[in-house]
């Protein structure tokens, strides 16, 4: 008796709704690094999207909703535009793993003007500011969110005398720039800065070189490493002239996801992910997971799969994503950035989660991380 009436109700109320998601990976040139310890998983990002797709499918089966994902990988030297065009013919919903330049190329294609693209890889500040696009949302944390998070820890610990070593790659330089901005924002000063210029193999001689290299920093509270390609930073730890903590790209880092996050149900997401993919979940996997889950959550709540309805809902106050970080995740309506807590972690444990207690904000404490409404030069969302 229960069965008949309720089934009738649910099938009448919920017509079949289907969503197709395009996943586009545009391979980036990876500079060689000294260590071979951390090979980048081939399905970095994609695996997270797949886990989210599975989550969406499970939910969808109770609502008469279905999802499919089409994947395209563009190898180095191949034409991203052709692949993007192919996907956009099938769906306006794209998850994009690319660097900032390639991302903007796709977002500016005529075929993409009525699309919704999720940036899951690029942390560049400009994408959240003057180079923002109305069809581009960001589930990847911006560099500024990560450096703001780390600087909140510095403020809290009163580590105010700081020095920095910066690598020479573009990503290192933009991370260093974001760090300077964050230090300035929270009123801390950077003392000396040095560029990493060694071309020797540090696995053999770090112990001899790094103490000398860091000796003329004199005394300081913490050493910041800007080494986003993870080339030399790992050899600085425990080799500095002064016994001081190392933070930034190595040591104590700010990340939007890490296997050491256990609280807030995160252990469940880790185990689901590890069972499916046989490895631990990276920050980029998480960003892709959040993008695909965002679309799923919007379709669950609106029972619609058309772009205007989903986009409006995603950017509205009604939207909230449970993202295993202890707070609902929402999107900034001034630049399309996903608001999210940032983990302050070392490879073995979570140390803190930003925003740290005491960093208040008139609207949302999460907006103490990254470009706040008055700071962003984004006009496209107005």
């Amino acid at each position: 008796m229960l069965t008949a009436s309720a089934l009738a109700l649910s099938s009448a109320a919920l017509a079949d709704t289907a969503l197709t998601i395009g996943y586009l990976q545009i391979e980036q040139e990876r500079p060689p690094t000294l260590s071979n310890l951390d090979p980048l998983p081939k399905d970095n990002g994609l695996a997270g999207a797949q886990t989210a797709l599975d989550d969406n499918l499970t939910t969808g089966k109770f609502l008469g909703q279905s999802y499919e994902m089409i994947t395209e990988v563009v190898s180095l030297g191949d034409d991203p535009a052709a692949a993007a065009r192919g996907l956009l013919e099938k769906t306006p919903f794209l998850v994009l793993d690319a660097d900032a330049a390639a991302l903007l190329d796709v977002a500016d294609m005529p075929e993409a003007q009525d699309a919704l693209i999720f940036n899951t890889a690029a942390g560049d500040l400009s994408l959240r500011s003057e180079s923002c696009r109305v069809n581009l949302l960001h589930t990847a944390a911006s560099d500024a969110m990560r450096t703001d998070a780390l600087v909140q820890v510095l403020v809290k610990k009163r580590w105010s005398d700081l020095v920095m070593i910066t690598g020479t790659h573009a990503v290192d330089l933009s991370y260093a720039e974001a760090m300077r901005r964050s230090l300035n924002k929270f009123g801390l000063k950077l003392g000396a800065e040095k560029e990493w210029v060694f071309d020797a193999d540090m696995r053999r001689n770090a112990a001899q070189e790094v103490p000398l290299f860091t000796q003329d920093f004199g005394d300081y509270d913490a050493l910041i490493i800007a080494d986003e390609v993870h080339d030399f930073g790992r050899y600085v730890l425990y080799n500095t002239w002064e016994a001081r903590p190392v933070i930034g790209s190595e040591g104590l880092s700010a990340v939007n996801w890490s296997p050491v996050i256990e609280q807030w149900g995160a252990a469940q997401l880790h185990s689901r992910f590890e069972e499916a993919h046989g490895r631990s979940m990276t920050a980029q996997d998480y960003a892709a997971w959040a993008a695909v889950r965002t679309m799923g959550e919007a379709m669950t709540r609106t029972n619609a799969s058309d772009l205007p309805t989903l986009r409006d809902y995603i950017l509205s106050e009604k939207f909230e994503l449970a993202g295993f970080k202890g707070r609902p995740l929402t999107y900034r309506d001034w630049n399309g950035q996903l608001r999210q807590p940032i983990a302050i972690a070392h490879p073995r444990a979570l140390v803190a989660q930003a925003p740290l207690e005491g960093f208040l904000h008139q609207f949302n404490e999460l907006d103490s991380l990254g470009l706040d409404r008055p700071e962003s030069k984004c006009e496209a969302f107005k």
Binding site: A6, T59, F62, G265, E275, G326, R327, E365
Partner: protein, 322 residues
């Protein structure tokens, strides 16, 4: 001094009520702590399987069932000796469960597998497995035994199970990350808490329609951190006591008007709870501070904190053995 005398007075008054025990699972110690509802002290600690969470007693209190999540088993313990009598097949990662009014069937949420497992405690066999949403957690069963509920944290639904056919007959959306479910008022209402959504949804159990939504607001705490999790009802179902997780408060909700009447400060990351026999005292598990807060229900005041193991999670009452 005043607090002490209140405690003494309360202790005197509670000793008139029948004596009992609150059993608390310590998720990160693999133990249960047994608290006397008379002395408000831990009187025994027993070892369990790995990561004990859900806990409940058989109708005659002769057995205690414990979800040993990382041992992938429900353990059956003799509460008088602390001996594990046997394990029940539970499916992977059992987190929460309920005992059907028939005193035989356990409905178990298998968090990692998106499944609800039904186990016969007598034959020790799995009699059904039901596909539910991602990360099932909250479990409830109606007093007449006809309906079981599973809530799924990532799918954000309450799944309604017909216990005769062991099949789903309805799926109702709730706010983000549902954690706990209870039938109240003789089974006419079904309540579901949503941790990240920050609400409790009240359903009319007869037609699964949403009847009310309860929100919370703790002064000085950001709304994002006000996260309803476990809840229990005072005598006569007049009021719900709702654990609000990292806001470190328990809310007192009028179950007729659905309005919040009070907030009681307790330990850190308050999670689940249970009452003593006459429901004059409420015991809440506080995961982060590793203790149990005792609340005097009449005055709605916390009267004592009891240190237990690491990450206390579930709580269940039984009368003291005679």
């Amino acid at each position: 001094m005043r607090i002490l005398s209140t405690v003494a007075a309360l202790l005197a008054s509670t000793s008139l009520a029948s004596a009992g025990e609150i059993w608390v699972t310590n998720e990160k110690d693999d133990t249960v702590s047994v608290i006397s509802t008379e002395t408000l002290e831990v009187i025994k600690t027993y070892e369990t399987g790995e990561r004990p969470r859900g806990i409940l007693f058989s109708k005659d209190f002769s057995r205690v069932y414990i979800c040993a999540s990382d041992s992938n088993a429900v353990q059956v313990m003799d509460p008088n000796t602390g001996k594990i009598l046997n394990d029940l097949p539970s499916g992977d990662d059992p987190e929460q469960f309920v005992l059907h009014p028939n005193d035989r069937h356990l409905y178990i949420a298998n968090e990692d597998d998106a499944i609800t497992t039904v186990v016969d405690t007598e034959s020790r066999k799995v009699i059904a497995q039901i596909d539910v949403g991602v990360e099932p957690e909250g479990m409830a069963v109606s007093p007449d035994g006809k309906i079981a509920i599973t809530t799924s944290e990532t799918t954000n639904m309450a799944h309604w199970i017909d216990t005769e056919t062991q099949k789903l007959f309805a799926n109702t959306l709730v706010d983000s990350r549902p954690r706990h479910a209870e039938f109240v008022k003789e089974g006419t209402e079904m309540w579901v808490s949503s941790e990240i959504g920050g609400t409790i949804t009240v359903f009319d159990a007869s037609n699964q329609a949403e009847k009310a939504k309860i929100s919370f607001e703790v002064q000085g705490v950001h709304p994002d951190r006000v996260q309803p999790v476990g809840f229990e009802f005072a005598a006569g179902d007049t009021h719900a006591f709702v654990a609000l997780g990292p806001s470190n408060h328990v809310a007192v909700v009028n179950a007729d008007t659905y309005e919040v009447e009070d907030y009681i400060l307790v330990g850190r990351r308050v999670w689940h709870m249970d009452f003593n026999e006459d429901r004059s005292l409420l015991f809440t598990t506080n995961g982060v501070s590793g203790d149990v807060t005792v609340i005097d229900v009449a005055s709605r005041k916390a009267i004592k904190t009891i240190k237990v193991g690491r990450f206390p999670w579930g709580a269940a009452y039984r009368p003291s053995p005679t």
